[in-house]
Amino acid sequence: RMQTKDIKHIILVLSGKGGVGKSTVSAQIGYALVKRGKKVGLLDVDLCGPSLPQLLGLSGKDVKRSTQGWVPVYADASQRMCCMSIGFLLPSPDSAIVWRGPKKNAMIKQFLEEVVWGELDYLIIDTPPGTSDEHISLIEYLQDSNPDGAVIVTTPQGVSLADVRKEISFCQKVNMPILGLIENMSGYACPHCAECTNIFSSDGGKLLAEELDLKFLGKIPIDPVLTEQSDLGSNFIEKFPDSPSLNSVMNLVDSLIGSDRMNIGA
């Protein structure tokens, strides 16, 4: 019943910790995969704080219905990237979705059963922080869809790593393979003197990956241009091809593409 049969790879983006950049990284992975010639869907299962429409420049768009179900919102004329989020279904952007677990679960199920994803190379699923209803339900609903695994996003500091360890423990408990770990917000280069300050500490993600024998997909620095472009819903990758952040993102995506089901032997 899940409309996922024509999707080649399903990747979850998880953290455990809020505000580390799951949605930002999900959007950048989407853009980068398109740059690599892939057809991508982005599913936003953060029902309380759906950021993907904003990040993809799709705020205010409507979801259309076809005879087969809901049509995801396409980000471009060539239809290489599409998105589904509760953000598209809200009467106004400031409306709060104040739902308890069961209603959230039902919505997530609808997203997987009723959205006509069509043929995709990758479905990237952006999640809210935590290890609760959304995560438990998502894993259950995806049981027969054979997801590739999860990418874990963290910032370098201790308080983030503490939550991320729990998320890793969750993945192990539910047999979700971990494709790798990304250390986001890793260092900031002052625009005046170029001195790099590790505002949120440094290397925490890398060391955690080493400790737990997980693949380290790379560091992404704090980049105000990336943050600003994300706010504006712009395709940062196309607009700033020389950015060091772009290199980080393309490297991690190339690493991911190399880690498909056949390589990781899940």
Binding site: G19, C48, G49, A96, S132, K166, H192
Partner: protein, 313 residues
């Protein structure tokens, strides 16, 4: 008592739910008959117990956001430390983030455990006048709490009903991001006892503000008075050249404009200081470690405003 029973399936909708006893997951549960007949619904006797337990608490303040990672727990911790600087005040800090409880680490209390007495659960004390409660004290460090809503709600209720807070001048309640089970439950359980106000934390960017507007609307909907908005991570001063830069640019006017648009007070901006992140990881009180930091000065001003606002109510 309306709590999810221990022998309920993990998908239990909760005995108070409309679906109690009627969902497919209820098949086979020993409580199904009672739930379906409505015997487990009705006025929740625990609300009286909570009212009684919190009768010695003068002010209850929620720290909310909607958005994750903006600094709710950091603010809650530093705020609690600051309030507890005065020996005359008794402070309680309750962490209702069940999945990602950061408070023990931020207060330097990792590895501590909750003790039970005949008066109930004892908070873990940082110092004589600052007691803390978090699920972090009840689990192993890396253990994930993989609970659905009803079980999380049950734990939050126990924090309110069973913890021996005794007399407190302030109970600060740190919350997880979102507008879901935890937020609905804390509002519901404190319905009788009352919430004196909520502080909303944001960062300057639009992706954060978008979620915080929803949280403000949630507060208005459920009748929680809003003490004001704090804009965290607002600007950065390079420790090397002292040049200022904006990392999280306020593309749509930042927290101040949003507060104005939503007709709620704006309490102030806190700049980024890398030493603050380190102090957090080390469980230290940043303001006494770095009294000259612009972040410390910002905290001081904001705390003054909060105390004025909460006294006025």
């Amino acid at each position: 008592t309306g709590e999810t029973p221990e022998n309920a399936p993990h998908d239990c909708p909760g005995p108070q739910s409309e679906e109690a006893g009627k969902q497919s997951t209820c098949e086979g549960c020993p409580n199904q008959g009672a739930c379906a007949s409505g015997a487990n619904k009705g006025p929740d006797p625990d609300l009286e117990a909570i009212l009684e337990r919190l009768s010695g608490v003068k002010k209850k303040i929620l720290v909310l956001s909607g958005k994750g990672g903006v600094g709710k727990s950091t603010f809650s911790a530093q705020f609690s430390f600051a309030l507890a600087e005065s020996d005359a005040r008794q402070i309680g800090l309750m962490d209702i983030d069940i999945c990602g409880p950061s408070i023990p680490k931020l207060l330097g209390l990792e590895g501590q455990q909750v003790h039970h007495s005949n008066l109930g659960w004892s908070p873990v004390y940082v110092k004589d006048n600052l007691g803390v409660m978090s699920i972090g004290f009840m689990m192993a460090a890396d253990e994930a709490v993989i609970w659905r809503g009803p079980k999380k709600n049950g734990m939050i209720k126990r924090f309110l009903r069973d913890v021996d807070w005794d007399e407190l001048d302030f109970l600060i309640i740190d919350t997880p991001p979102g507008t879901s089970d935890e937020h609905l439950s804390i509002t519901q359980y404190l319905n009788e006892a009352g919430v004196d106000g909520a502080i909303l934390i944001t960062t300057p960017q639009e992706v954060a503000l978008a979620d915080v507007r929803k949280e403000i609307n949630f507060c208005k909907k459920v009748g929680i008075p809003i003490l004001g908005v704090v804009e965290n991570m607002s600007g950065f001063v390079c420790p090397s050249c002292k040049g200022e830069s904006q990392i999280f640019k306020p593309t749509t006017g930042g927290g101040e404009k949003m507060a104005k648009d939503m007709d709620v007070p704006f309490l102030g901006k806190i700049p980024l200081d890398p030493r603050l992140a380190r102090a957090c990881d080390e469980g230290k009180f940043f303001m006494t470690e770095f009294p000259d930091s612009p972040a410390t000065k910002a905290y001081q001003q904001i705390i003054e405003k909060i105390l004025t606002a909460v006294d006025a109510k």
